[in-house]
Point group: D2
Chain length 163, copies 4
């Protein structure tokens, strides 16, 4: 079983530009993270875009959806900024109902050493192997169906939507 891993940017892959003192995107760290995690899964990585999810457009989401639909794999993990992860999940759920898609991200850039990214990547790659088709969000060690979750922006974690 091959797992398709789509990179879209987000905090996960942000870096520090030491000349300007600002955060920016260069290349994804996902391959390094898979190596660090001694991951032995058959993972096919593709960088679809490198954007802050607050700046992700409808067209960007259609591009991610197209990548999911065109992938020959049935199991897909997507790294994504946390702020609009649920919005993208909604688009994917409507357009690619036959795939198991797990979105994940990070609150701290992997390059900054104290990241939750490695933990979340291990989690997302695990959930995607065992879950049936559908779109989920794996954050904070948990996995939520996309339509039952929201980001609590004041506390910085994902939680169930109260009934």
């Amino acid at each position: 079983m091959t797992i398709r891993l789509l990179i879209t940017g987000g905090t996960f892959d942000k870096e520090y530009d030491e000349l300007s003192g600002t955060l920016y995107f260069k290349d994804t760290h996902v391959q390094e993270m898979l190596r660090l995690g001694r991951c032995r899964l058959d993972v096919a990585v593709r960088t679809v875009m490198m954007v802050d999810s607050l700046e992700m457009s409808d067209a960007d989401r259609q591009t991610i959806l197209a990548n999911c639909r065109q992938a020959s794999e049935k199991k897909i993990v997507i790294t994504h900024g946390t702020d609009t992860m649920v919005e993208t999940a909604r688009v994917l759920a409507a357009g690619a109902p036959d795939k198991t898609i797990v979105l994940t991200g990070a609150m701290v850039p992997y390059a900054f050493g104290s990241s939750d990214g490695l933990f979340n990547l291990g989690s997302a790659l695990s959930f995607v192997q065992v879950l049936p088709p559908g779109v989920s969000i794996a954050m904070n060690g948990r996995c939520f169906p996309w339509n039952l979750v929201r980001k609590n922006t004041s506390l910085g974690y994902f939680e169930e939507i109260p009934m």
Copy 2:
């Protein structure tokens, strides 16, 4: 759902003693790792022992089994040295068949910065939530039924036992 997390030592928790220049056990790093991973699961941690798995005795394995049986939780993750992880899994499979037990470990100590431990912990905590009762080993992003896996000691990863 509460997950019981049992600590038994292994490479996962080894540290460097700067006076003697050797590796040793002090306290577990699991709580720090859960915090780093922004884990929001309800995890109850218990340090059962801190041993190198090559030095784990039959009595030690019975102690681990007793901890699994006495736990009120149905979902159990165990951090364990990789060298005899399968042996312990065999004891648990025979003695605690009604629980979902996932063993995990690391090839590099967490304290040494480049560890697979954080990735594996995220993976094990994910698999344990969705798997039915039984004993599994989560390493290298994969999850194996205990009786179908072995450690490839020359390559340093876990693999299926060839039929």
Copy 3:
């Protein structure tokens, strides 16, 4: 011999705010760095301010100068943002000519794991012990008299002013 260590902020001590995704100041990491470096010098640390050096005012520089003059120690190290380090050095050279003052900083925040801060701190604390009274800047393993140096902002390091 006691060394006075004055903290003024700068990239050295910036942190990542995971809720807003921006950089900010909390507490200095200098004590942790001294512990990590197994520093056995008699160092008296004082946080004077926590500011980005681009936002440092004339009044701020007078405060730093006052701290240098009032210190009972003859040897002073100052952590400072790199962008206006030379400007502050000029003020100190005019106002505290009897002290050995070494300014240092970092291009990458210490908290981001790949920092030059630890290297520079070791360097500045060494130079200050052996240099005569005067104001210097210790960056990139080198030590420059304040009036012969400038930051090369396009390359990100300090260099002699060409004659």
Copy 4:
């Protein structure tokens, strides 16, 4: 001014072998550390040997001495295991009295993330630039003439020999 940097091994450059679970030497990390420290000194690195200083022989010390004598540079930094650093310093002081030689090392391997090595390297490279000919040991932020210092093996740092 070029500084000659001689690598001899020691804790500084030890690594963790994940197959055997033991510490060993592969390549030096000094170039990576100089890059991390944004060092802009003209440093010529040479790996002379990679040994634990407890296993350093008289012949090894003569090899280090020969390297110091043959170097065209007047300024030399040597990375060395801490346990017999003073013994090597004695040989160098007798045989190469016209050079400024600073020995340094680490209590924790650089590869283990929490190392004093980067701090000490910054320190040694600074002291060597300003000290007159002679052999010194730079550890713990301090610099000692070789004949006035000893390693306190129970506390793990260097200290003056009591008169």
